[in-house]
């Protein structure tokens, strides 16, 4: 996985102006997505992972949102791009699918028509050609009778079926990057597995990179090439999936994985579950966001730990376990 860099997010910050001042939600997130890889951003609710994805797509329409930093896609800064140029990227070179397929499709139109709409927004295709392509795509998603399904309304389809439709729609214009925001969260476990298989298979067939937002370490282990772990709006740890799962260094990651401390080295407290809950954005601690829940925290954690990269593995912790 040493392809060229496709997406480069650098010091991305998202905050909201509120009655009580500016409230930061995403506090300086940086990562890259390379061509053909699946990068997973993992974190709990409130960690800022979904807002990061929406900020990349420039889909945060709240007039009180303040977004700074840079998002470069094929070297082009998306945050400074004029709206029409951004629009032709959205759904074209960058596509996105969402968590809840139940509400993500317009109830008044057939799913076929909604795919056709996207194709016609980006391609110079006639309606008939677009429809044929839509049906082909639905077929490629493993839908048995695509022609019939294309004529159905969203409410007539199951959740898994709708998510397949969403994926078909996202892939309809051969995106270089697919952003998937919790694509399996709202689905049954068995369907989850099918959708993940589909994403894995399609990465091969369509050659898209995937930025997979999830809270589920199991999903990460199954499909991601690399992982970014987010906590309280910042990156806690990032690295290749296998390495990170084998040797997590950040106490939060360790907690997430339920890892048992090794016998060698300093003895760590065992963390079968992480006590406490992630802080709400308005009472995040000033230093390390995880410190209040961290067994290893000391006085130094009142400062913001820098993200230190060593051998492709980045950790933001003063007490990071040596690899």
């Amino acid at each position: 996985m040493n392809g060229e860099t496709l997406l480069e997010v650098d010091d991305l910050r998202v905050s909201f102006r509120t009655g009580q001042g500016v409230l930061p939600i995403v506090e300086g997130v940086s990562f890259v997505v390379k061509a053909g890889e699946i990068l997973s951003v993992v974190g709990e609710s409130g960690s800022g992972k979904s807002l990061t994805a929406l900020a990349i797509m420039r889909l945060i329409t709240d007039p009180n949102a303040v977004i700074t930093g840079s998002v470069r896609f094929r070297g082009q800064d998306l945050l400074g791009l004029p709206e029409p140029a951004m629009r032709s990227l959205r759904g074209g070179a960058i596509a996105m699918i969402f968590q809840d397929p139940m509400t993500a499709l317009t109830p008044a139109y057939t799913v076929g028509a909604q795919i056709v709409e996207q194709i016609m927004a980006h391609r110079n295709a006639g309606r008939m050609a677009a429809r044929t392509r839509a049906i082909d795509l639905l077929g490629a998603m493993g839908i048995a009778s695509p022609r019939d399904i294309a004529g159905r309304y969203p409410h007539q389809l199951s959740g898994g079926m709708r998510q397949r439709v969403m994926i078909a729609m996202a892939l309809s214009c051969d995106p270089a990057l697919l952003i998937a925001d919790e694509p399996t969260t709202a689905l049954d476990v068995t369907v989850q597995a099918q959708i993940l298989e589909l994403i894995l298979r399609l990465r091969g067939e369509f050659g898209s990179s995937v930025l997979l937002i999830t809270h589920d370490m199991g999903v990460v282990a199954k499909v991601a090439d690399r992982v970014v772990v987010m906590y309280a709006g910042a990156i806690a740890e990032a690295g290749a999936t296998r390495a990170l799962f084998a040797r997590p260094a950040h106490p939060y990651t360790i907690g997430l994985l339920g890892a048992i401390p090794r016998l060698r080295g300093p003895r760590l407290v065992r963390l079968p579950a992480i006590p406490g809950a992630p802080p709400a954005p308005h009472d995040r601690p000033s230093g390390c966001g995880f410190a209040p829940r961290c067994a290893a925290a000391t006085g130094i954690c009142a400062a913001h730990p820098p993200l230190i990269t060593h051998d492709g593995h980045a950790v933001a912790c003063f007490h990071a376990r040596a690899a």
Partner: protein, 341 residues
């Protein structure tokens, strides 16, 4: 996509305090709503002061005709009723913009400005009274239907459906015609034909389905909600559930409805009075003054214009206040007050 994502869900967390106090604070901070409330208070005060205005400013009896009165303008004596320029009949004096006959006279030589204040009293009283009746009845019917379920609910819901299908104005007109011409005798309870209570009751009753239907829906969904089911599983008495969970929620809805219904009722009162089946002469309301002005429309338009403007201002302010109340008490409100004219 405002802050609807999970990441921002806690952003708008309210400081801990009672929901009603929080709502009131929010309402007080709403400048439009407060400005509207201020205007309404001024309107009410002006109408309360009607006798003072009539006695000390206009020096007139707003209910007696004054066909051969004279007033002094700029040292000259001017008759209130002047010969019409066409030579036929008499034309009342137009707006003098002075203490006497500020807005002119109607065709009986009565001071329109003074009648406006007296009329405003009746318009406001009827709008307020009918709103109270409507909300009380609708709250009762909605809660009883929604909370009892079964046959009681079926019967009440059906009755509401029938009334809902009935054109409101036609119902109000039918009731008014009968009651205005003969009054009401129901056992010991008697209503004079010219009683103000007749329009109050009629307007209050005809809009009951508009409020009762959403209340019933709310009660049914509350009764099925998880927290009520949990209470029932814990063995909490139905009465207690009713008082603790249902009544406060329904009361909030009724508060949200109140200013909007009052606006609607004020327009309805005006319409009924204009059809001469609302407030009965010699008493006035803004609706009856518009009717008085109809015959003078082309010669003395102020008689009809002034009460219409008064209604418009009051109703606009009620609607502003209503929007503020809805935002404060019920931010995700789906309530809509249907206008029907």
């Amino acid at each position: 996509m405002s802050l609807t994502s999970e990441d921002g869900a806690r952003v708008a967390a309210e400081p801990a305090s009672g929901p009603w106090r929080a709502a009131l604070r929010k309402l007080v901070q709403n400048r439009t709503a407060m400005a509207a409330a201020l205007v309404l208070v001024l309107v009410v005060l002006a109408c309360i002061a009607a006798p003072l205005y009539a006695k000390y400013v206009a020096h007139t009896d707003p209910f007696g005709s004054n066909l051969d009165g004279q007033i002094t303008i700029g040292g000259k004596s001017v008759p209130v009723m002047q010969p019409s320029p066409t030579g036929l009949g008499m034309t009342p004096i137009g707006p003098t913009w002075r203490a006497q006959y500020f807005l002119g006279a109607d065709n009986q030589g009565r001071d329109v400005a003074a009648r406006m204040l007296y009329g405003g009293r009746n318009s406001l009283l009827i709008a307020t009274g009918s709103t109270l009746i409507c909300l009380a009845l609708a709250g009762l019917v909605g809660v009883v239907a929604g909370f009892s379920g079964g046959i009681v609910d079926t019967v009440l819901a059906r009755a509401l459906d029938v009334l809902w299908a009935f054109p409101v104005y036609m119902l109000a007109i039918s009731l008014s015609v009968v009651l205005i011409s003969h009054g009401l005798k129901l056992g010991p309870f008697t209503l004079q034909a010219d009683s103000l209570l007749i329009p109050v009751i009629i307007i209050g009753v005809v809009y009951v389905p508009y409020v009762a239907r959403p209340i019933r829906g709310q009660v049914i969904s509350l009764a099925r909600s998880d927290f009520v089911l949990a209470s029932r599983c814990l063995g909490v008495a139905r009465r207690r559930i009713l008082l603790r969970d249902i009544v406060p929620n329904v009361t909030t809805t009724l508060i949200v409805f109140a200013p909007l219904m009052m606006a609607l009722n004020m327009l309805t009162e005006a319409a009924l009075s204009f059809l001469s089946i609302g407030v009965q002469p010699p008493a006035a309301s803004w609706g009856t003054i518009i009717l008085d002005g109809e015959g003078l429309l082309y010669t003395r338009p102020m008689v009809a214009l002034a009460p219409g403007i008064a209604i418009m201002i009051t109703v606009v302010m009620l609607n502003f206040l209503g929007d503020g109340v809805r935002e404060a008490f019920d931010p995700r409100a789906k309530l809509r007050v249907k206008s029907d004219r």
